[in-house]
Subunit: 122 residues, 2 copies
Amino acid sequence: MDSHESFNVFVQNCPSREIMQRLGDKWTPLVLLGLAGGPLRFSELRQRIGSVTPKVLTSTLRTLERDGLVQRTVFAQVPVRVDYELTEVGHSLLGPMETLRKWSENHASKVLKARDEFDARD
Amino acid sequence: MDSHESFNVFVQNCPSREIMQRLGDKWTPLVLLGLAGGPLRFSELRQRIGSVTPKVLTSTLRTLERDGLVQRTVFAQVPVRVDYELTEVGHSLLGPMETLRKWSENHASKVLKARDEFDARD
DNA sequence: CGGGATCCAAAACGATACTG
DNA sequence: CAGTATCGTTTTGGATCCCG
């Protein structure tokens, strides 16, 4: 691995900091998790995620492609077919994303309750 | 746990979805990780994170407090002392956040390289 | 010291319509 | 089908100053 290069998210201007901040983009986790089961077409992915506009999905995918997490493959057919799938590096993020997902689903009710209590104060 | 309540991040309007999206707020991971070692005062936390303005740090902390992840304690002194620390629920997020952090630091050079190659194309 | 208040810039997100 | 173009809105982040 690259641990010898000593990236540190607490250091301002360290690339790893910006990378971590990007992983939290509103749609990034859902896209990554959506592709967990294998390649999907644009419209399939869109359906799977739901309520994401084409423009936003496109830009999210572009960023992920640029960062080497997702691979885009165009099949020269009529009509065209475009597949998106996780790269190996993208796959290595699946674990962390799954963890985040599970945490969110398992703690949702606690968080909701905390909000109610907080809002009830004052 | 609450898994029987069947929250699902892929379901539109499911609270868990919004909660997961919130975990990726630009500063949330850094704040949580910053508090990993124990309670910190506002200014200590700010120094630790670096380059975050008071306004933004305040609002991030408020949200985390509202969601029950962070506890805010005011000591009636002159001058005032305010401590922030993780709650138990907040602690349970430390693992996932650490994972994200390590991933970012370990894969930073790969991502950077992928970007270069992507930008070199066309 | 720990912010709140104000104002502003920029980015992210979204709705809609349209095209190769 | 897989987007792009355009436009507008919303959200987020930042700079600066001030106050208890």
